[in-house]
Symmetry: C2
Subunit: 373 residues, 2 copies
Amino acid sequence: MKNSRRHFLQNFTVSALALTVLPRLGIAAKSDLYEQPYDGPVLRVAIMGLGGYGTRVAEAMQSCKKAKLVGVISGTPSKIKDWQGKYNIPEKNCYNYENFDKIKDNPDIDAVYVITPNALHHDQVIRVAKAGKHVICEKPMAVNAKEGQEMVDACRNAKVKLLVGYRMHFEPHTLEVIRMRNAGEFGKVLFFQGLCGFKIGDPTQWRLNKQLAGGGSLMDIGIYAVNGARYMVGEDPVWVTAQETKTDHEKFKPGVDETIQFQLGFPSGVTASCLSTYSMNNLDKFFLNGEKGFAEMQPSTGYGPIKGRTHKGDLNQPVVVHQTLQMEEMSDIILNGKQPVVPVNGEEAVKDLKVMDAIYQAAKTGNKVNLKL
Amino acid sequence: MKNSRRHFLQNFTVSALALTVLPRLGIAAKSDLYEQPYDGPVLRVAIMGLGGYGTRVAEAMQSCKKAKLVGVISGTPSKIKDWQGKYNIPEKNCYNYENFDKIKDNPDIDAVYVITPNALHHDQVIRVAKAGKHVICEKPMAVNAKEGQEMVDACRNAKVKLLVGYRMHFEPHTLEVIRMRNAGEFGKVLFFQGLCGFKIGDPTQWRLNKQLAGGGSLMDIGIYAVNGARYMVGEDPVWVTAQETKTDHEKFKPGVDETIQFQLGFPSGVTASCLSTYSMNNLDKFFLNGEKGFAEMQPSTGYGPIKGRTHKGDLNQPVVVHQTLQMEEMSDIILNGKQPVVPVNGEEAVKDLKVMDAIYQAAKTGNKVNLKL
């Protein structure tokens, strides 16, 4: 699909692995081992939303060989100017929120990575799909499952791919734990725990605005525990219970959750216990417990190096720049139909949104909510 | 109180600390430092229930200087014979379950340590109290708060002390975390997590018999998370939610819980997330998170050495034999009116039982249960 848009670059001399892994390890990427030219297809990406995370993705993409930042969509002309200079982006690949539907007439852009406030994703993704471009959307993909499903449907109808920024689905320590689980090295899986939180600062930011964020900590950081529970356990939950606690009603307005505990039940009897919070610093712990062994990860989802250990000892997978690896892999998924170990598509995101809908419902009503994903 | 029963021994030459700490550290207790004679009061104890844990306590008491095993109460004559030989227990200090009320006429026993199946504690403790002896009762003190309160009332009426086997309340790593919390070193406390479980073996044991155990894992191992939440947070919970999961209905009959997750809310807004299970091996983790720091303990309540770390580094308190230290301290509490840092009395146990009653109710109904301890 869309092979005609593939764009071949000949002058990559260092492999993605080298560029992704080596800077973190402090090793100069000059070894002959890695000086292999790349002449495969390259995904040409425009980033929509030039905020903090968009900037992180743009920087990480400088080390990609299979993906390249070629365009921007922003409501702030000065940011566009800045990025144009920094990343050598031609004027014709720059758009604003009014005119970006015209991207459909631009043959030099394959995909748009939507990195805007959560509540805007729905309309923006559908507009990108209608413009015939593949979409990568930051998570949460939407603010509820209904909107998420509409986005999936729109992309399917437009025959474009919809991927979601589940960077952990490519992270080597995470994949090693999943490999061990699949190989039965933990025995029967029994319990998962995910504690995800940070202390949120500036009270005026969009993440604390229900209209833009669609919720509070659960949307932003708790989603790592929701999604993590699913990929660590390897099943989809069938029930949810949840409890909300709010200590600061000024900072966390109605509809913006500060702290939510939630529990998940899985078909096999596995249970999960999770915490999502905007009030605790650096809370980033996963724990998977099985009959024969366990895995502990801390940090488990942060941007920096993931650290973990199992009953067999420390995990020593390569340290990667998550966003670089994600974009390399997403290029392969979009351009070559590669199948990732854990799905990163819109359907995967709708499952998370259904769980999050259920968590909010359970927290509000106090009742157990049954699920069918 | 009961000073007349105090019994002074003159020939202790090694301090309790030395005997408690040193064997674990592999250091011979011969240093001059520890060769201090003890000539204070000694609590003379009879153990009721000569099973596995009773045996552990008896062994640990051999290193005590302030407490001494002097009597036994058992329904098994061969066990009594065995213990008499092993611990030099005179015939006149041996009782069975029919005649132990006669202990009231025995001036050589100060206290009875009840280490029998949970559901028997209520009647046995009340009988011991009526016999005018102090009571130490293994936890859970009873199978519900109502019975627990009756035991507290009976001991108060009989003017005997009622202590409960909360050995962690004396454990040095645990006390260091509590000291740090009280000193504000974690900042405002925000979250506690307690994961407590083991894989229970023999399906015919009393712990899996509702009539004797009063419940399942929550009674036996989950109580560590219930009690731990209270001493780690330093508050009493005001609400409880809980979810039960049962995968083996053959082994875990109705009323015997296999796995229960529960959540607690505290007046300050602290929340706790806990797991109690009979289906996971060696699950023994505490985590206390505050605004400025954290404490992690693993193992957190096991019989062996407790290990922990905080944001300031590893905890390096002395490794102790819990039961030895507990009995030394309980001797001081009973004989000298010493006040422990964390209460170990019957009222403390009733609080735990109220929380456990609420957990069972919440798990059964699916509703949040409000509490007033």
